[in-house]
């Protein structure tokens, strides 16, 4: 809208000059165009007052004449606006020393271009009231508006006036003629003139056009109102009564003018989108459309599209994977997470190398036992022989051929009674090794001498008989004995017949009463009195191994599932150790008595701290196959496990007297060399380990 008046104005300028008529014609055309637009604009302007107040001044001026028929407030306001715009222009062009106070006198145009003055004249109201329009008026109006642009004469444009300071002219008019500078009055004359002229305060010098402009009374008033921040026109009523254009009848509910809350909009829209997506109305075309990667290189049409190098996207940064996350969050050296174990070097001595072999057995060596002083060892083999070996030289000192599979040999723990208990088949032999001195021999012979009648007097099932061929006692059992264990005092020994349980089960199937035989699988024999008794408590499950406590009268029975600890004096169960392994195969008690190791058929080695818990303190999964034997060293902090997988593991197992300190377990050495290791025992005094193999050898590993 703003452009139209300018055009008109441009065309309107040469009023005084030549070509007025042409311009007027042009003007008339333009006016018609603009009228239409104004009408539209008016409609728009009505919609908001704000618009109105700002826009109207420039618009309505043009309506001035043509819309006079509309009459009423619109035209009035339009004239007001035109006034305003005039004033503004004047203000802009003048130097701002203009009057601020109210001016009483009417305006009289003294100088300047006639048109303007005539326009600015008193006939404002007349115009309004008449509403007439003629050419002159139009011209007047035009000139009015044209004065907005201030440059009716000078066409130099927006250049610094200093450029013309030294020239005689101040610029050029439309026709290109120079506009001469006016003759300047001397300062004195002008001062005197100003003093004389009472209207002088209303005069403004227009430097650009080199002329003086005198403001009218209305103009000064208007300026005064503007300066006060009021509506420029005096007739404009900012508090006009509100005209409600909306038709309320029929509307049941009041229509809120408040904007819709963002929340509802959001959820509503989102819901709609979600539904649309679900229904498949909206499809995401994530994949970029494939452009054929091949193109005619020399094709003109395509070359217009593709200029320069093909776009090569930068490689995408790698998404953070598991490793990145780990490195981000767990920035710990894995070595530092390992438990701080002492070095193996510091834990010497322990068995490492095999130096001695004890050769002689013809079959797999099933069991070995060391003499308490460490001078001899005894071994039992599947070839039916029991042998005694000299430790230091590997010489076989004595052989007993018992003719049965030897399951267990055990030296009497008393050094002064070098006797050997042997479990062979259904029998338990107590043999005199003849290793002791003469007095010891006598004592042993006395011990091992069984009166024939005594044997008959004894309970029929356990036959204490003399065995002259082997020089010892033969204890007949009715089932295969697998374990023989001496009590530490060397008088009692326990025997284990696991098959008795099966026997009982068989009996139970048949239906016979078998409660008497309940715990006959474990028997305790007293050598000095030739007594045999069952353990005075019930056992559950099939016992696989037994052990005496090294210092107290406590008895351990290992069944396949757990280890039961009995007090022999109080005759009751003290504790049950849950190994949590498939099948227990062997057990060894720490010489201190508070710890035990249990080997299992699934290759696990469980260390129990019996003060700590009935669950294993440590479970060592070291063997891939059955563990066949476990052993503690009597004095060194060592323990070992041997297995069917041909290896024997040696561990450091330190038990501290301080109850707060848990046992320290360090794996030390893997000993190899056997085909299958059936048993292992430590030398009682040296850090040496004897292992019995299925290759009918016994090996001694030294430190």
């Amino acid at each position: 809208m703003g452009t139209n008046p300018r055009k008109e104005n441009d065309s309107d300028k040469p009023k005084n000059e030549t070509g007025k008529k042409k311009v007027q014609k042009l003007k008339a055309k333009n006016m018609e165009e603009t009228l239409k637009r104004i009408e539209e604009a008016e409609a728009a302007a009505d919609s908001s007052k704000i618009h109105r107040s700002f826009r109207v001044p420039t618009i309505v001026m043009m309506k001035y004449g043509s819309l006079s028929e509309d009459g009423g407030s619109v035209s009035e306001s339009g004239s007001d606006q035109s006034k305003l715009s005039e004033d503004e222009d004047v203000v802009q062009s003048s130097d701002g020393d203009n009057p601020t106070g109210a001016c009483d006198e009417d305006n009289d145009h003294s100088s300047g271009d006639g048109v303007i003055e005539a326009d600015d004249g008193d006939n404002y109201h007349g115009e309004d009231s008449h509403g007439e329009s003629d050419d002159s008026r139009e011209v007047v109006e035009e000139s009015d508006s044209s004065e907005d642009e201030v440059a009716p004469r000078n066409t130099v444009g927006n250049v610094p006036l200093e450029w013309y300071k030294d020239e005689e002219h101040i610029g050029y008019d439309l026709a290109g003629k120079k506009i001469k500078k006016k003759e300047r009055q001397s300062k004195l004359d002008s001062f005197l003139a100003s003093v004389d002229d009472s209207k002088n305060w209303r005069k403004i010098y227009d430097e650009y056009n080199d002329e003086e402009v005198e403001l009218t009374k209305d103009e000064t008033k208007l300026i005064g109102r503007l300066l006060k921040g009021k509506a420029p026109h005096a007739d404009f009523d900012p508090y006009a009564p509100y005209v409600d254009w909306f038709k309320w009848d029929g509307a049941k509910h009041p229509i809120s003018n408040a904007p819709e809350p963002k929340k509802t909009f959001h959820s509503f829209k989102v819901l709609r989108y979600v539904r649309a997506i679900r229904k498949g109305l909206i499809k995401f075309d994530d994949k970029p459309k494939e452009e054929s990667r091949l193109y005619a290189l020399w094709d003109d049409s395509s070359s217009a599209e593709r200029q320069g190098l093909a776009y090569i996207p930068a490689p995408k940064p790698k998404l953070p994977g598991v490793l990145a996350i780990r490195s981000q969050f767990i920035n710990i050296d894995p070595e530092s997470l390992k438990p701080k174990l002492p070095s193996r070097k510091d834990l010497k001595p322990y068995p490492t190398t095999c130096y001695l072999e004890y050769k002689g057995h013809k079959g797999p060596v099933m069991t070995i036992s060391t003499e308490p002083t460490g001078q001899w060892i005894a071994s039992g083999s599947k070839d039916g022989t029991v042998r005694i070996w000299e430790v230091e030289t590997g010489r076989c000192l004595r052989i007993w051929d018992l003719g049965e599979n030897i399951d267990q040999v055990a030296w009497n723990p008393l050094p002064e009674l070098p006797m050997l208990a042997v479990a062979a088949g259904h029998d338990v032999f107590i043999l005199n090794t003849r290793c002791g001195s003469d007095e010891q021999q006598k004592k042993i012979e006395e011990l091992l001498h069984v009166e024939p009648q005594m044997a008959t007097e004894d309970s029929g099932q356990y036959d204490w008989g003399q065995d002259d061929r082997h020089g010892g006692i033969r204890l007949k059992h009715f089932k295969t004995v697998t374990k023989v264990e001496w009590h530490r005092k060397g008088d009692y020994l326990s025997t284990l017949m696991p098959s008795d349980i099966l026997f009982r089960a068989m009996n139970a199937l048949i239906g016979s009463v078998c409660s008497i035989r309940e715990s006959r699988s474990v028997l305790i024999h007293q050598l000095s009195k030739r007594l045999t008794q069952r353990i005075p408590f019930k056992t559950k499950g099939i016992p696989v191994s037994t052990a005496f406590h090294p210092t107290r009268s406590i008895f351990f029975t290992a069944t396949k599932k757990d280890v039961r600890v009995y007090d022999l004096l109080k005759q009751k169960l003290i504790k049950k150790l849950e190994a949590g392994v498939r099948e227990i195969s062997s057990i060894a008690i720490h010489p201190g008595g508070d710890n035990a190791i249990v080997g299992s058929r699934d290759g696990k080695l469980c260390w129990f701290d019996m003060d700590l818990s009935s669950r294993p303190y440590r479970v060592l999964r070291c063997h891939p196959k059955d563990i066949t034997g476990v052993a503690y060293h009597r004095s060194y902090p060592l323990f070992a496990s041997c297995s069917d997988d041909c290896t024997t593991y040696v561990f450091h197992g330190m038990v501290y007297s301080d109850l707060n300190q848990n046992p320290l377990i360090v794996p030390l050495e893997i000993l190899r060399g056997h085909s299958r290791v059936m048993d292992c025992k430590f030398h009682p005094r040296q850090p040496w380990l004897f292992t019995a193999g299925a290759d009918s050898l016994i090996k001694l590993y030294c430190h």
Binding site: Y355, L356, T393, S437, C702
Partner: protein, 441 residues
């Protein structure tokens, strides 16, 4: 000369060293003192051939003899060039090489067969060899295969034997020997050397020393021959008085025993004078090198020196391994050599202040050391026996064994020097083997 020509030929390829051969050997073994130039890449074998050639040049019917060479107190065990480099000896000067006959057995005697394992040998008397056997007999061998006496009486394997008066060997008619056995006793025997019989004569002990409560492992006699000491599985070292000369003086009990109508023999029994207590495990070896000092080695990993007068141990060397054998000898009879439950022979010098770590360690064996003995004359030579079936000769001046005797088919249980030029050894193959012709300076 051939060698010189050879040397000239080798000149192109290798460096030359100016050497002069010196020796302490007697004249037929002496070579001219002049310095000669030899190739630097010669080894001991080359040097030996060179010396033999030199000797042959002087003496027409010279039989080649292996020599060993000593430079700056170290035996040459590599090429001369490497040796000089390793020792930082200048090759510019005239090098003085001392040579002596190589210490190696030149002759292997016929093995002397036993009925069982030979557990102990003693060659301290030049006139005979004393052996102990697992069958319970001690035996006296005049030479290889010639057994003169059988010492009959022990009921268990003999574990250790010793000559009680080796110094008085030549003069006396009656020799006294002592044996220790696993039957917990020590026995003293007397026999005449010069009796030569077709059949070995069985003799009985004139004295039985009882007191140990477990197998006796080792026995040693005082140099003067008045006392013996013994180490046993009962962890003690017992001292015994012999009193061979004065008959039955302070004896506790006297038995007269008649056996099969043979000559009746007085058999006396004795008790221990003193017991040296301190070891905590089997005392596996005792040595009595000087009048007042006893050395003992034990399975409790220690070597102790006992003062006989006070009965206290004045030195305690901790070894870390169970020790099986011990001997005192070497430089001024002060070095301790011991071997045990590992393949290392350790040699300590107790005179060395401040430290108790071994000064030499020889570890060419593969199994336990069962025996080690110093040469009685030489300060440098040792013989050792091991369960790996080998007997090795050692010189302190080199880390490699001088010679390895591996004629035994099984464990060697004992070894000793005999007559200063032979090594005798007995083992689990029930044989006594004599390797003779060892020339130790």
């Amino acid at each position: 000369m051939d060698i010189d020509e050879n040397g000239g030929a080798g000149d192109v390829s290798s460096r030359q060293v100016q050497v002069r051969f010196v020796t302490k050997l007697k004249p037929p073994y002496k070579v001219p003192q002049a310095s000669i130039s030899i190739p630097a890449n010669l080894t001991r074998f080359g040097l030996s051939a060179l010396v033999n050639n030199l000797l042959q040049a002087a003496n027409e019917d010279w039989n080649a003899e292996p020599f060993d060479f000593l430079i700056d107190g170290e035996l040459v065990r590599m090429s001369l060039e490497e040796f000089l480099l390793a020792k930082g000896i200048s090759a510019e000067k005239v090098l003085e090489i001392e040579y002596f006959k190589a210490v190696a057995p030149r002759k292997e005697e016929e093995p002397s067969l036993h009925d069982d394992w030979v557990s102990a040998v003693d060659g301290s008397n030049d006139g005979y060899i004393l052996t102990g056997c697992y069958d319970g007999f001690g035996r006296i061998w005049r030479a290889a295969g010639i057994c003169t006496h059988e010492l009959d009486g022990h009921s268990g394997p003999v574990t250790s034997v010793c000559n009680v008066m080796p110094k008085a060997a030549e003069s006396s008619i009656d020799q006294i020997v002592a044996t220790a056995s696993k039957d917990r006793t020590l026995r003293l025997w007397k026999f005449g050397v010069e009796e030569s019989l077709d059949q070995p004569k069985k003799i009985r002990a004139f004295k039985i020393l009882r007191g140990h409560t477990a197998a006796v492992q080792s026995i040693a006699a005082e140099p003067s021959g008045d006392m013996v000491c013994s180490g046993s599985w009962d962890c003690s070292v017992n001292l015994w008085n012999i009193n061979a000369s004065d008959s039955d003086g302070g004896l506790v009990s006297v038995k007269k025993r008649r056996k099969g109508g043979e000559d009746e023999e007085p058999q006396s029994e004795g008790e221990a004078l003193t017991t040296l207590v301190g070891h905590t495990q089997c005392v596996s070896s005792v040595v009595w090198p000087q009048r007042g000092t006893i050395y003992s080695a034990s399975w409790d990993h220690s070597v102790r020196r006992w003062d006989v007068e006070t009965g206290k141990d004045s030195l305690n060397i901790f070894c870390g391994k169970a020790i099986n054998c011990l001997d005192i000898g070497g430089e001024s009879s002060a070095l301790i050599a011991a071997g045990g439950s590992d393949p290392v022979i350790r040699i300590w010098d107790p005179r060395k202040p401040g430290t108790l770590s071994p000064i030499f360690q020889f570890s060419s064996h593969n199994s336990w050391i069962s025996s080690c003995k110093w040469h009685r004359k030489s300060w440098f030579h040792l013989v050792s026996a091991s369960y790996d079936g080998k007997v090795m000769l050692w010189d302190l001046r080199t880390a490699w064994p001088l010679a390895v005797i591996d004629t035994h088919k099984d464990k060697v249980l004992s070894a000793d020097w005999w007559k200063h030029d032979s090594v005798i050894s007995g083992g689990a193959d029930s044989k006594l083997r004599i390797s003779s012709g060892i020339s130790v300076q």
